[in-house]
Amino acid sequence: MVNKLVVENLKHRPIRTFLTVAAIGLQVTMILTLVGLSDGTIEDSARRTRGVGADILVRPPASSAIGLSTAPIPQKMLEVLQRQPHVGLVTGTVEHATGGLFERVTGVDFDAFNRMSGGLKFLDGGLPQADNEIVVDDYYARQHKLHVGDTYSLINTSWKVSGVFEAGKGSRVFMRLNVLQDKIANPGRLSVIYVKADDAKNIPAVLAELKALLPDNPIFTLEEFLSQISASSIGLLKSFTNVVIGLSIVFGFLVVFLSMYTAVLERTREIGILKALGASPAYIVGILMRETIFLGLIGSLFGILLTYGTRFVIMSFPASLTQKIVPDWWPISTGIALVGAMLGALYPGLKAARQDAIEALTYE
């Protein structure tokens, strides 16, 4: 019966119910989008790094695992590394940020890069045949609406798209190594060196050799590097996520507080009737709490569904961001929404419970 009363109360004020549900939904979407975005982008980055096929990465001195560095590693270092025992393949890349968040272009020696990575799998077109050509992955092509033969502006220059390849091999945009080096006025320099051991069992030995040879350079196995980028990113994002969660709780609290406070004022007479019928304060608080939980659950469901919408928008937006759907976070974000909502309903609930029955019954 109480549930019926709760549902009827919510149906009685459809606009207020909708707005409250929408606000709680936005709160949940905010959390799920942020978490999905950070998880998605990190996972995508890790997947693409793995796609290069290297066992070991050599980064410039004083660089961190994440973030783009300039290109301070001398290119001739490739020959030195190639001569080390148990080193199978070596290739270097130069990376340059292109303005957008997480957007970069990578210069590669296509022959060496393809040997290490197994080759770019072209969905359309092929490798650059001239210095003014670039190749892009299908994700980038879709976001930027690019096709083979199109011209595209990057680093203040127009480039022709010679091929669209399947995503998953390091960068989303490649051009010839020397072309990018010249373009950024850093000839003969590299941002990262990728090393592949002649045999997987020799990776530790190669790692030790390289560390001895280049003591100032951060050198990681692929797995170390991947754990570093996720650890660094999560460490960075965790604080941000916590801030968003905190704001969500405050947001949910305020929305539900306002909604329930108005509801209590509107239902003063009804509360008086319930009291006259013998409803205890706990019974009345219980009605409001059930109403709040109902709103919280429907709002959370709405928020979860809305996350698919934000993913669609973000994936369509040319920013090289990847949003993952994070079902693990559905109960967490629902819990957060419920906590905020119930805190918001507490004061109106107590106000209703304390209402004087006689005054309430005479309320017009």
């Binding site: 019966m1 109480v2 019926k4 009363l5 009827e8 109360n9 149906k11 009685h12 007479r269 009804e270 008086g272 009737i273 319930l274 009291k275 006259a276 019928l277 013998g278 409803a279 205890s280 019974y283 029955a357 006689i358 019954l361």
Partner: protein, 224 residues
């Protein structure tokens, strides 16, 4: 003679309005017998509504004793008075006071739910519904019911938990003559057929004539 179902001795109620004390009841003594249909008549400000609120456990007395079905209201906590309303008292109000979002049937059921009696009414209550003549209107919400029908639903709600006492505050105040007569006739029927004790507050002498006895109040005291 059996013990009165309501016994009031030297009942006083003082309201504090700002810095002023208002003596709403000035030492009321009254006995109401089980099965009686008593009407308390008085003009506005006579104290009859205050008496109604105290008998209904909606407000505590300032002093004096009120015993309802053997339970002394003096010193009762809020929770105890809430429990009294659940078990001993059924209310009928001038403005019906039905919950607007619920159907007539649900308005009756919620009173059972609050009393913790489950939602299915007993066979005796079916007879009451028949007597009230609202069985065919139970699925309608209050806005779809006439004033007379709403008041009959309110009576059904008041009786669903078989209270010892039915308290009615100007039950015909919002009704036309025809519906007033129907409602008052039903109350008399309930009293005569089921032995329901009824205390009705009214300022209308014609309505008061439906009761067994009439008590007049003026300025917070019983005057006859």
């Amino acid at each position: 003679m059996s013990e009165p179902i309501i016994s009031i001795r030297n009942l006083k109620k003082i309201y504090h309005v700002g810095d002023v004390d208002v003596n709403a009841l000035r030492g009321v003594d009254l006995d109401i017998e089980r099965g009686e249909f008593m009407c308390i008549v008085g003009h506005s400000g006579s104290g009859k509504s205050t008496l109604f609120n105290i008998l209904g456990g909606l407000t505590p007395p300032t002093s004096g004793t009120v015993t309802i079905n053997g339970k002394d209201l003096r010193g009762m906590t809020e929770a105890e008075r809430t429990n009294l309303r659940k078990t001993e008292i059924g209310f009928i109000f001038q403005k019906y006071n039905l919950l607007p979002t619920l159907t007539a049937s649900d308005n009756i059921s919620i009173a059972r739910s609050i009393a913790g009696r489950g939602e299915n009414a007993d066979p005796q209550f079916a007879e009451i519904l028949k007597l009230l003549g609202i069985s065919h209107r139970l699925n309608h919400k209050p806005r779809a019911l006439s004033g007379g029908e709403q008041q009959r639903v309110a009576i059904a709600r008041a009786l669903v938990n078989h209270p010892s006492i039915l308290l009615a505050d100007e039950p015909t105040g919002n009704l036309d003559t025809e519906n007033s007569n129907i409602v008052l006739g039903l109350m008399r029927d309930l009293n005569e057929r089921l032995g329901q004790t009824i205390v009705m507050i009214t300022h209308n002498p014609e309505a008061a004539a439906y009761g067994h006895s009439i008590t007049h109040m003026r300025d917070g005291s019983i005057v006859g």
